[in-house]
C-alpha cells in the first residue's frame, strides 16, 4: 500500500527514499541499482524493500 517506514529486516528507515527512487528508477530511466547506491540504501535487505514495493493507494481509493 504505502512504502514501509523501515526495512523489515534491519530496521533502517527507508521510507524517506521512496519518492526519489520512484521518480528516478520507476518513472525515470535510471538504473535502479545505481539510484539505490546514490540514495545510500546499501544493504540488500533494505534494497529489496524498494525494489519489490508497489503503491496501492490509487488502486483501493475508489472503494473509499
Amino acid at each position: 500500500m504505502m512504502i514501509p517506514v523501515r526495512c523489515f529486516t534491519c530496521g533502517n528507515v527507508i521510507g524517506e527514499h521512496w519518492e526519489e527512487f520512484k521518480a528516478r528508477a520507476r518513472e525515470g530511466d535510471e538504473d535502479p541499482g545505481e539510484v539505490l547506491d546514490d540514495l545510500g540504501v546499501d544493504r540488500h535487505c533494505c534494497r529489496r524493500m524498494m525494489v519489490s514495493h508497489r503503491d496501492l493507494v490509487d488502486v483501493v481509493s475508489p472503494y473509499q
Binding site: M2, P4, V5, N12, G15, E19, R43, V57
Partner: protein, 250 residues
C-alpha cells in the same frame, strides 16, 4: 582500578553511521556493548494515538504502526524512561502526510527525518490525530531501538610472508572488515575491493585476528548520534554494575 588499556579510534565517522576500532576489549565485553546499544539505550517513539478523523484508505491501526516507526530525536539529558511527549498530525487531501508534518509540543523531540510518507490522501480525505511518544528501551519494543545493524568484527592483522611462486595461480583472497598492515596502518577492506590480492599482488600472506581489537559498525536511526549511542550504552552497563554492587554490599 582496572588494568584494561583501552584505545579508541574512529575509522569512519558520520552523524548517523561510523566504524570504531576499540582495543583492549574482551569478546564478552564487546558483545555486552553491542547488546546494550541495541536493547538498553532508550529512544522516543509514538506509543498511543488518538484519532479524531481518519478518512484515508488505511485503518487507524496501520497508521498508528507507521507513526510508531518514525524515529524521533531524543535528548537523553532532558528526559527519563517513561516520560511522554505529545505530538499531533493534521493533513487534508489531496496531499501526502509526511513525518515532517507532525507537530510537536516539545521542540527537542521531533521527527528525525521529515520525508517519510505516512499516508497518501486523496481529495476529500483527511487525517487528524494526537499522539503520545514515550521514552523506552529496545527491550520493550523494537521501535525504541536507537541502533540499527550494530555489529563488530575482529581487527585482522596481515603479515607478508614473502613472494608467491612465479608460476602459482593468482587467486583472489576475499576479506571483509578492517585490516592492520605490518606498518600499523588501519585500512578498511573496501579500499581494495575486499580482495587482498589487489593490495598485495603476488605475495604470500598470513591473516590473523588481533586479540582484543574489535571494529564496531554502528548505525543509528537518527534519534541519537553515533557517539551518544555508544556513550549511553556504556553508561547502562555501568548503571547495572553499580546496582549489582549495592545489592551485593548490603
Amino acid at each position: 582500578m582496572s588494568d584494561a588499556d583501552f584505545d579508541v579510534q574512529y575509522i569512519e565517522r558520520d552523524d548517523r553511521s561510523a566504524r570504531v576500532l576499540i582495543r583492549g576489549l574482551t569478546p564478552a565485553f564487546a558483545n555486552g556493548i553491542r547488546r546494550a546499544m541495541i536493547a538498553d539505550v532508550p529512544t522516543f517513539s509514538i506509543d498511543t494515538v488518538r484519532f479524531v478523523e481518519n478518512s484515508s484508505v488505511m485503518f487507524d491501526e496501520m497508521i498508528g504502526l507507521r507513526l510508531g516507526l518514525v524515529p524521533l530525536t531524543t535528548p537523553l539529558d532532558e528526559f527519563e524512561v517513561g516520560d511522554e511527549v505529545t505530538l499531533a498530525l493534521d493533513v487534508e487531501g489531496p496531499a501526502t502526510a509526511y513525518s515532517g508534518d507532525i507537530e510537536t509540543s516539545e521542540p527537542m523531540v521531533e521527527p528525525a527525518d521529515d520525508n517519510v510518507p505516512i499516508i497518501e490522501l486523496k481529495e476529500g480525505q483527511r487525517i487528524e490525530l494526537e499522539a503520545d511518544a514515550v521514552l523506552d528501551t529496545g527491550k520493550e519494543h523494537a521501535k525504541h531501538q536507537g541502533g540499527v545493524s550494530v555489529g563488530y568484527r575482529h581487527l585482522q592483522h596481515v603479515t607478508v610472508d614473502g613472494d608467491r611462486g612465479e608460476f602459482d595461480e593468482d587467486e583472489t583472497n576475499v576479506l571483509r572488515g578492517v585490516i592492520e598492515t605490518e606498518d600499523g596502518d588501519i585500512v578498511p577492506t573496501a579500499a581494495f575491493d575486499h580482495d587482498l590480492s589487489e593490495k598485495y599482488p603476488g605475495k604470500e600472506l598470513t591473516v590473523e585476528d588481533v586479540p582484543g581489537a574489535f571494529v564496531f559498525h554502528i548505525e543509528t536511526d537518527g534519534s541519537l548520534s553515533v557517539e551518544e549511542l555508544l556513550l549511553r550504552a556504556i553508561d547502562t552497563i555501568e548503571e547495572r554494575a553499580d546496582e549489582l554492587h549495592t545489592k551485593v554490599s548490603v
